[in-house]
């Protein structure tokens, strides 16, 4: 475990040199948030209107939090580097090193996103407070529980993305599968809380990664209850176990299939 912690720390320190790049990346985030602010302001006729249990303030905070999680944890390592390693055969140099390739990728990814995610959270808070004011009834005592679900959400998202990238062992390019996952999280998971969907779809959405990656943490931030926390946390543990199993099976099968020409 020590070596993975070292990889995490080394990547984290390396990324401190690229703060300017992260700051410039905020342009996109600001624009998306601006579009959503305008959209929801148009949909809510006035500030007091409640749609499916959400006030405009809660709705904007919900979108803000999910977008922060989305933008803050995006990383090309998971979507492109693994596929490239497999496609180019570079993975041959990684799998014979004294570490597990998947854990190496996870450590490197977490090292890369830590600073970015913290910065996005800070900027998200500033945007939220200045545009719609602080979250009503937010209790600072709930932060440790919320933080736990945020961290678990980020890890589950990373593992699911690795599972998708590993498909490259079978078909050369896994990017189209990432699009589908991206859109599922983006369209269903970040723009609307589950309550906005028709009742018959809600149980299905609760079984998808959306519930544990974006909806869960965001819901706890805007409307915390111990019951919701327990539901979300148990679902996250289940998801974690299932996703790790899927990655292990796919990776072990894929590596056996690997055929690299020397060069």
């Amino acid at each position: 475990m020590k070596k993975y912690l070292y990889i995490y720390k080394a990547t984290l320190v390396e990324n401190l040199n690229y703060i300017t790049n992260i700051l410039l990346g905020f342009i996109n985030f600001f624009v998306m948030m601006f579009v959503f602010l305008n959209l929801w302001e148009y949909i809510y006729s006035d500030n007091t209107q409640v749609i499916n249990g959400y006030t405009m303030q809660q709705m904007i905070w919900y979108v803000l939090i999910t977008e922060v999680l989305w933008f803050g944890s995006r990383n090309k390592i998971l979507t492109q580097e693994i596929s490239q390693d497999i496609k180019t055969g570079n993975i041959a140099y990684n799998i014979n090193k004294p570490y597990n390739y998947v854990l190496y990728i996870v450590s490197k990814h977490l090292g890369e996103i830590t600073i970015k995610l913290i910065m996005f959270i800070m900027v998200g808070i500033i945007i939220g407070v200045s545009f719609v004011g602080p979250i009503q009834n937010f209790n600072i005592m709930n932060v440790p529980f919320i933080l736990l679900t945020v961290i678990f959400g980020v890890i589950i998202n990373s593992i699911l993305r690795i599972a998708i990238s590993i498909i490259s062992f079978w078909i050369e390019d896994s990017t189209p599968f990432h699009w589908v996952y991206d859109k599922m999280i983006l369209v269903i998971g970040t723009l609307f809380p589950i309550e906005m969907f028709p009742e018959f779809i809600r149980p299905i959405i609760k079984c998808t990664p959306i519930f544990v990656v974006t909806y869960g943490p965001a819901k706890l931030i805007i409307d915390f209850s111990m019951k919701s926390f327990m539901n979300i946390f148990i679902a996250q543990i289940l998801y974690l176990v299932i996703s790790i199993s899927i990655v292990s099976i796919l990776y072990n099968k894929g590596v056996k299939k690997l055929n690299v020409n020397g060069g």
């Binding site: 410039l24 990346g25 996109n28 624009v31 579009v35 148009y42 749609i51 078909i171 699009w179 859109k183």
Partner: protein
């Protein structure tokens, strides 16, 4: 002059043909890229169904007009990426000194660079655009206007991203700025223009011309307006000339990195 333009267009289409043929060597990847891009775009229909269940109209549009707007955005983006994908990566080429191979060719450098790659998934975007048109309602007038504005929109989008990319001749972190500004254009393209107000609306019709390439073109398909029609065409010509001018001005500042690469 005319022969030169004709030659250049011929080279451009030859480049497109070979780009596609190269990508077709792996048929599974080729087809999955196109099919999944269509599915990827189609997923946004869910977003709009939910939004329209909350409010009957958004920015004066019903779901039918939004589908047309989406179709226009997808086909403009698709055509631009099919013909001129490298315009979206111009910054990277400039920063890493990868323009050398194009400088020695006896053709226009700008056109040779931007047409040197095709994004295969963009074929899916273009097909999706026409599927949206089919859903909106297909008539001869709609097909002609839609196709014409797809081409015009692609010229505007390509010129805009090329200008942003060319900034890297002068700005060190130009690639991130170019990427962000190009994404702005794409992000705004799929939302009705009327939800934006004030200074932002002015920006969307001038500096970030998504208003001209998407909102105005869709409005013309909905309600034909000759003045706006000519405004769009003139705007496209002006921004295209500006893209050539800025790239050529910047090219004088270009310095090679002596990177050895070849075009296969």
């Amino acid at each position: 002059m005319l022969m030169e333009v004709k030659n250049q267009i011929k080279v451009m289409f030859l480049s497109l043909k070979y780009n596609i043929m190269r990508q077709m060597t792996n048929k599974v990847t080729f087809i999955t890229n196109i099919v999944f891009m269509i599915l990827n775009n189609a997923s946004f229909i869910i977003q709009w169904i939910i939004l329209f269940s909350l409010k009957n109209e958004i920015g004066g549009y019903t779901i039918k007009e939004v589908i047309l707007l989406w179709g226009m955005a997808a086909s403009v983006f698709g055509l631009s990426r099919i013909l001129f994908n490298k315009a979206f990566e111009l910054s990277e080429l400039i920063i890493n000194g990868k323009l050398d191979t194009f400088l020695v060719q006896p053709k226009n450098v700008f056109l040779s660079v931007i047409s040197s790659e095709t994004k295969i998934s963009a074929i899916g975007d273009l097909i999706y655009g026409y599927i949206c048109l089919l859903l909106y309602g297909i008539t001869i007038k709609n097909v002609i206007l839609f196709t014409f504005f797809t081409a015009i929109g692609a010229v505007i989008l390509t010129s805009f991203v090329s200008i942003m990319g060319s900034l890297s001749f002068w700005i060190v972190k130009g690639d991130i700025i170019a990427d962000s500004l190009s994404n702005i254009m794409i992000n705004f393209a799929t939302y009705p223009g009327n939800i934006f107000k004030g200074i932002v609306k002015i920006l969307l019709y001038t500096i970030i011309p998504v208003g001209v390439s998407n909102y105005m073109t869709v409005d013309i398909i909905l309600n034909f307006n000759l003045v706006n029609f000519f405004y769009i065409v003139i705007f496209a010509i002006v921004i295209l000339l500006l893209a050539f001018y800025i790239f050529n001005r910047g090219l004088k500042r270009y310095s090679s990195s002596n990177l050895m690469n070849s075009r296969i």
